[in-house]
């Protein structure tokens, strides 16, 4: 994917509109997922998708493949999401609680994907989802952004610090704080 992204970027830089469409096709869903994890709001996430691809198009000439195209794109999306959430919160327009599943949502059963060679295969209910959403909502903006980029997008601490204009230490501690809060909220549920 990375190699073919590089090719598409090179073609798009040379003015090939179809090549940029290819990049939009490849990454719009993942940008939406990132935006939703950041904002917890569907409409805001759609705005983030549009704005991210517009900004990326405008700045394409300066993309130099030091990081993958996807990482570069997610940095734009994360910063814009952060900006949007700040503005919405400041204006009191939206609560990230919009992301919470409904109280009466049907119980959903998930098998958690494995991350470990000898993973625990656990079954989780809608109650866990609800608590995850609530806890993410309670994180500070910086904690949420750093955590989402690390946990869901697999970005390194170095990449996160660059994306958010933080020192590596500050990025690391934002992730630690987020994990601590999630642990406090979720441990009683998942260790039952």
């Amino acid at each position: 994917m990375e190699d073919s992204d590089s090719l598409a970027v090179a073609r798009a830089k040379a003015g090939d509109g179809d090549a940029y469409r290819l990049l939009v096709d490849r990454h719009s869903r993942s940008v939406f997922r990132l935006a939703y994890r950041m904002t917890g709001n569907e409409q805001d996430s759609e705005d983030v998708v549009q704005e991210t691809f517009l900004r990326a198009y405008k700045q394409l000439q300066r993309y130099e493949a030091r990081s993958s195209f996807a990482t570069w794109l997610y940095r734009i999306a994360a910063n814009y999401s952060l900006d949007l959430v700040r503005r919405r919160k400041r204006h009191g327009e939206v609560s990230l609680g919009d992301a919470r599943p409904e109280e009466d949502a049907p119980e959903m059963v998930h098998t958690i994907p494995s991350r470990d060679p000898a993973p625990d295969r656990l079954v989780f209910s809608g109650r866990v989802q609800e608590q995850v959403a609530r806890t993410l909502d309670e994180l500070s903006r910086q904690e949420r952004t750093a955590f989402v980029l690390r946990h869901f997008e697999g970005q390194s601490i170095e990449e996160i610090s660059g994306a958010l204009g933080l020192s590596q230490n500050a990025a690391k501690h934002s992730i630690f704080r987020a994990v601590q809060k999630l642990r406090r909220a979720l441990e009683p549920l998942v260790t039952q």
Partner: protein
């Protein structure tokens, strides 16, 4: 035996632990292994956070909405106007609230709400203004140095020019309100924005480095972040919100 810290376990979970023997320790220490397994359960459960599915034709929908702007090269103008419009609206609100505050003070000494309204409007307006400024500064701070030739920063320049106008108004308003800290921050920011606006629209690696140094030396990104945190705290306690 020293046990592993939670931070070491988190770094190990994300594959960022250095070569400090975490794995060996986990193999030997039942207590740490238990802690790590508890952490794994929590972090694995986070993956259950639901994201709404997009329709099958989602990519086509996104492209349809983008196509016109991209194809006709209108994205630049679209970007340039959006923050400008927002800044102008906010600037008008701040000015309105500021002058209205003065009138209320003259007309009715009981209008206790006016300084609060003024501070609230200024708080929101300056916060938004700083966020837009931060985006421009971050773009420059993160831009890759051109390997050869020059880097086009004309978009950031245009954005900086727009921001300078609103910055001046907010600075004057903060100064009139006797808010020294905000005035000083906006003063610093204005110098950096002017530096960007007055740079060539295409910069060499050396010129880009000089701009970055200016941003770094003034510590403007850190100050803006700190200010944002303070604003957030004040907003969380609106009853006791002191002046900016």
């Amino acid at each position: 035996m020293n046990h592993l810290s939670e931070e070491q376990l988190v770094l190990y979970y994300y594959g960022e632990a250095g070569p400090d023997g975490v794995e060996d320790h986990l193999g030997r220490c039942e207590s740490c292994r238990g802690s790590y397994q508890a952490l794994q359960r929590v972090l694995n459960s986070v993956d259950s956070f639901p994201v709404p599915e997009r329709p099958a034709e989602y990519e086509a929908q996104v492209w349809r909405a983008l196509e016109g702007k991209v194809a006709r090269g209108r994205s630049r103008a679209w970007f340039a106007w959006k923050p400008l419009l927002a800044a102008a609206t906010m600037a008008a609100l701040v000015a309105g609230a500021f002058f209205a505050g003065h009138r209320w003070q003259r007309r009715d000494a009981r209008a206790a709400a006016d300084p609060q309204v003024r501070e609230r409007v200024l708080l929101v307006a300056v916060g938004d203004h700083l966020e837009r400024s931060q985006m421009v500064l971050l773009e420059l701070a993160n831009a890759g140095a051109p390997k050869s030739g020059a880097l086009d920063i004309s978009y950031e320049q245009r954005a900086a020019e727009d921001l300078i106008e609103s910055n001046r108004l907010y600075r004057a308003t903060a100064a009139s309100a006797g808010d020294v800290a905000t005035t000083s921050l906006l003063d610093d920011l204005e110098r950096v924005l002017l530096e960007i606006a007055h740079s060539p629209s295409s910069v060499s690696g050396k010129q880009l480095e000089a701009l970055r140094k200016e941003i770094e030396d003034r510590g403007i990104l850190v100050k803006v972040k700190l200010f944002g945190d303070q604003v957030e705290q004040k907003e969380a306690a609106p009853q006791n919100a002191p002046s900016l």
